[in-house]
Amino acid sequence: MLPRYFYNFSTFMSMFPHNYLIYGADVSIVGATALIIFVLTYFKKWKWLWDNWITTVDHKRIGIMYILAAFAMFFRGGTDGLLMRTQLALPNLHFLSAQHYDEIFTTHGTIMILFMAMPMLIGLINVAVPLQIGARDVAFPYLNAISFWTFFFGAMLFNISFVFGGSPDAGWTSYAPLSELQFDPGPGENYYLLGLQLAGIGTIATGVNFLVTILKMRAPGMTLMKMPQFTWATLITSIIIIFAFPVLTVALALLTIDRLAGAHFFTIAAGGMPMMWVNLFWIWGHPEVYIVILPAFGILSDVISTFSGKKIFGYTAMVVSLAAIAALSFTVWVHHFFTMGAGAAVNSFFGVSTMLIAIPTGVKIFNWLFTMYRGRIRFTTPMLWALAFIPTFVVGGMTGVMLAVAPADYQYHNSYFLVSHFHYVLIGGTVFGAFAGIYYWWPKMFGHKLNERLGRWHVGTFVLFFNMTFFPMYIVGLMGMTRRMYTYPSGLGWTALNLIETIGAFGQGASMMIMAVNIVRSIKFGERDVTGDIWDGRTLEWSTTSPAAEYNFSVLPQVTSVDEWWEEKKRGVVRPDHATFKPIHMPNNSGWPFLIGLSFFIAGFGLVFNWWLSAIVGALGIITFLFLRSFDYNTDHYIPVDEVKRVEAAAGR
């Protein structure tokens, strides 16, 4: 026997207590919750919160709630990132234990993709798309609220994991068999499975909702080829969601059945196929990264066109390349595991199909550049984000092509080279694009601008520290450093670069504080948007008031061109005559979506711990509320003409 050679790993870990961090987080959660409850009670805001936000079906308010939740998740995921960077600042640190580090990189990845990037973009889609197409709401406003509350409670379920029972620790990719009970017996992985499943319901519903909204609810005259680029991007993203997310649903369900009911879909024993999880995960996972990049592309197209004072260059090519990227996104998933022995033919196919994505993406980059050509560029904060995007995304894209070279990928796979690549495209693409959208549509959401000076500081410092954090990762990757190492030995030449990365990460954190200050400060001091068109915009959202009235448009616009509002301004704006107003048909607020989301949460929390009572109570809640809703006939109302006249007059129209 060999006992002398082995030492128990858990004793090894317990030498480095990490619980003080968790306790600190627990205290801050309890404190923040108590503070929120106190403020709401003290200022008697409970009813306001319920009537205006929790029960709302207004796409603009739902969008704002998505964005708020996404910001909260951004700070949570960002804190995870800073903890990781602190741990890796120098070799052999014991700031975090291995277990704690593993939980944190898992939550960092999962939260940033599913609970930050997606809701941030879905929030912007909610805010802007119905306004861009001249609609009064989405096709299914009630379903939209269901989407939000299932996402919200999915995110909450995922986030309470570190308070109750421990967080998932198998990576955001959650590869079987590591994620199976045999190797991961705690409740953490169940949180991952059920939290994502719950949020996924909302995402699929969002895909359906916006597909129908864009196809059926465009203002008269707006043909498909007269839609703004962001609307096009949303349409195509919705289609990807509808095809990709059911795969995730199935994969999560199978692994949940393995873990809760003892099945063997992905186990080592009893004929399970761990690699099938990998396939299913990436058949969803690769389209998923396009779900978070295409809306950002759409935002950038609108922002670059607006602030260059010029039509988008090559409208048709931009649309075709969006569609091409969407189609190709389903044909490349094996490039996430070239090194799993699929054979030369398979690797060749998926390598080349991946490279093909560079073609439509290249077309987009050049079309953006030539949108600025012979334009008049205004360097506003949204435009600065768009400008920061172009070179950053090119670096991410070119390393993406390098990763597509299958034999070379054998050297990059799972290394920091890969980590750097996907941060360049996800931050340089998705986050920069989302920030461009946030600064761009902020006046439309809240009626005032964010401060431009602070905005410029935010862009400048963030881009600087972003590169400082992630560029060295390309090099340490080639030096042999792999992702998900909780520490590393000295003497390999990794130390200096890791230290630079850590400093950069804290710089990014500080940069985000500038944005936070900006948001708070602008509530009081931000420039008011009295015209509804503070940027001299081109598309229909700028033709209505900021923030837009509940009904968006007093009279639905007639569309004749892509840049409809720009053309109307050239012709001379004619405000609708109050005499032409008609009563406006709008959906009623509803509390059911919140209650259904809450029931899902209770059911999910029960399943995490195999507490069947809680699971049954939650399931009964879902069924009951669905049942009650189906007998709720009071679902809509008309806004009388006088009310519309009053609101329009108050806005000076």
Binding site: D169, L178, A317, M340, R376
Partner: protein, 282 residues
């Protein structure tokens, strides 16, 4: 043509190196291949990097020129055409150029993908085979020809292609020796092959690149490449001096979660590693 390409490749190497901090240049194994597999992969890395660099430079130049020339200042004399809608000709050009670049990368990619899958032309008819099993959290190397086993270190002959058969008795790992070549997965219930060769005797570092649980960081191993006579000497020394591996010890190594120092055995039990997956030592 070939000469030009060589110069271009050298240029790209200079750029790549200049991006790196001074003093680290001796420790970038992926860029300093020590065997033919790593060499071929490095060739593709250089080539794709160089082509991508051209694209990036073109974009950066246009980007810089445009944002300077078309900035919105009162005295800017540059033309302003707000209604410009596009240009078929230009768009055709920047669709065609990426197609050409993709072809230039795709052809060598496919060729090398096939080349690396097949046994190298220099492989002996009876090559050295090493069975690599990843367990939680250690590397087990079995040498079927001589019947010996090592844990967490690997000894190979230099200048000879070695065939690795990779599998796992637990979570997935990848077997990666960046100086010698790229990685391949160790997966349960599956055996994957990988050919690697060291050009010179030396010591290289290997590591798992796929997260496999709390001890993952410790899944590194040393690779000692010896000249062929020295390798044979090592084999016979192990056969003479090292203990045999009992069945019980074997199970403990494979199925008890924990770390292990370097171990050496003159023989190992004949049961297959993957047949006993139910024996988790949790």
């Amino acid at each position: 043509m070939a000469r030009n390409r060589k110069i271009l490749r050298r240029f790209s190497w200079v750029v790549m190196a200049s991006l790196l901090l001074t003093g680290c240049s001796t420790q970038i194994p992926v860029l300093q291949p020590q065997g033919p597999v790593a060499q071929q992969e490095f060739g593709l890395i250089e080539w794709s990097f160089f082509l991508m660099l051209i694209v990036a430079i073109v974009v950066f130049i246009l980007f810089g020129v445009f944002i300077y020339r078309y900035r919105n200042t009162p005295n800017n004399k540059a033309p302003y055409e707000p209604d410009m809608e596009g240009s078929r000709k230009l768009e055709f050009i920047w669709t065609l150029i990426p197609v050409v670049i993709v072809l230039l990368i795709a052809v060598p990619t496919v060729r090398t993908t096939y080349a690396l899958q097949a046994p190298p032309s220099t492989a002996k008819t009876d090559p050295l085979v090493i069975n690599v099993t990843s367990a939680a959290w250690k590397w087990v190397f079995q040498y079927p020809k001589s019947g010996l086993e090592t844990v967490n270190y690997l000894v190979i002959p230099a200048n000879e292609p070695v065939q690795f058969n990779l599998t796992s008795v637990g979570p997935m790992n990848t077997f990666w020796i960046p100086s010698l070549g790229g990685m391949e997965f160790n997966m349960p219930n599956v055996t994957l092959g990988l050919w690697l060769q060291a050009d010179h005797p030396g010591i290289y570092l290997g590591r798992s690149a796929n997260f496999s649980g709390v001890g993952f960081e410790h899944m590194s191993f040393t690779v000692k490449a010896l000249s062929i006579p020295q390798f044979n000497t090592w084999v016979s020394a192990v056969k003479k001096t090292a203990p045999a591996l009992s069945s019980a010890e074997n199970n403990q190594i494979l199925y008890t979660h924990g770390l292990s120092p370097k171990l050496t055995f003159s023989s190992y039990p004949s049961t297959t590693a993957t047949g006993t997956a139910g024996m988790s030592g949790m």
